[in-house]
Amino acid sequence: MAKIKGAIIVNAERCKGCNLCVVACPSDVLALQPQKVNQKGYNYAYMANPDNCIGCASCGIVCPDGCIEVYKVKL
């Protein structure tokens, strides 16, 4: 079976820290920044466990602000 790996870029300034991507992620990749905030003061989302990402784009689809770009490769 071909192995798939994914990665995402979160537009940190656009992110409002709603946490919906964290809930939607099937492989527990995402989390909200525990300390850092963006200019608006939101704890933005980031890849806490980048190795688990499968590039399914669930996070990107549920993101209400369109902050997430998803990339995927087959190994």
Binding site: E13, L20, P50, G66
Partner: protein, 253 residues
């Protein structure tokens, strides 16, 4: 494999549609409006109608929709979006015309315009965001508010003997001869969002094929008005809103 090796233009699988511009939306964190805006932008882009779309925005949170989706917008008076869209479509029959309305706009002050536009079978698509509350003005009771639901104008819960019953505008419009497609969807999970995208796509195609009015009701959350976190609001919606407003097609001809 390093993250930087994966992040290359040829590996891109998902990004926000280019029609949704870079202005940061004024919506609260986790608001369903953002997802629906994104879907509308994606669909208009996929249909190649970027230059041939006239959208009508309501009064409500979505009043500023013209700031985010780069198509031509008309901002209608409160509740009058279907009437404005009627004129826009009749004068420009080759354009894609849709309205984007909330429940306070469509189901309360604009009931007459909505019912008559649907009854005339205008070739427009109505996107109806139903979150059971007046979101913009601070969470007052709307006609679609659930029985027993607490809002700032019914702090002890909505009582049918005092405030009437939740208005099922979808079922009402499905009975009219002018509508060709009435469906109720939601945008709380990736699967639901894909289904909603298909529904909006069908609505837009129906309007271009002169089949009649399409109504896409989207049961959504208003986490600020409901005073919950976005993920709790989604759970509350599946438990309470879906019982009153079941998902699925109400009419598909």
């Amino acid at each position: 494999m390093d993250v930087n090796e994966i992040i290359k233009p040829e590996n891109l699988v998902y990004r926000k549609p280019t029609l949704l511009n870079d202005n940061t939306m004024h919506y609260c964190p986790g608001c369903s409006h953002g997802v629906v805006h994104k879907l509308v932008a994606e669909i208009v882009e996929e249909m190649g109608m970027m230059e041939n779309t006239i959208a009508v925005s309501p009064v409500g949170c979505a009043v500023f929709a013209y700031n985010y989706v780069d198509v031509d917008w008309i901002q209608a008076a409160h509740g009058r979006a279907p009437a404005v869209a009627t004129a826009a479509k009749r004068l420009n029959p080759h354009k894609l015309v849709f309205t984007y309305q909330g429940d306070g706009d469509l189901a309360a002050i604009g009931t007459a315009e909505t019912v008559h536009a649907c009854n005339r079978g205008e070739n427009i698509t109505i996107i109806f965001i139903n979150n059971g509350i007046y979101g913009m003005t601070g969470g007052q009771m709307a006609p679609t508010t659930l029985e027993g639901m607490v809002t700032v104008t019914c702090p002890f819960g909505r009582k049918p003997e005092l405030n009437g019953y939740p208005l099922h505008i979808g079922e009402l419009l499905a009975k009219l001869k002018g509508t060709c497609y009435v469906t109720r969807q939601s945008v709380h999970t990736p699967a639901a969002i894909r289904k909603t995208k298909k529904a909006i796509m069908q609505g837009f195609e129906n309007s271009m094929n002169k089949k009649g009015t399409s109504v896409i009701e989207i049961v959504s959350t208003c986490n600020t008005g409901w005073k919950m976190s976005p993920e709790k609001a989604n759970v509350w919606m599946t438990e309470n809103m879906f019982a009153e407003y079941p998902m699925g097609d109400l009419k598909n001809e």
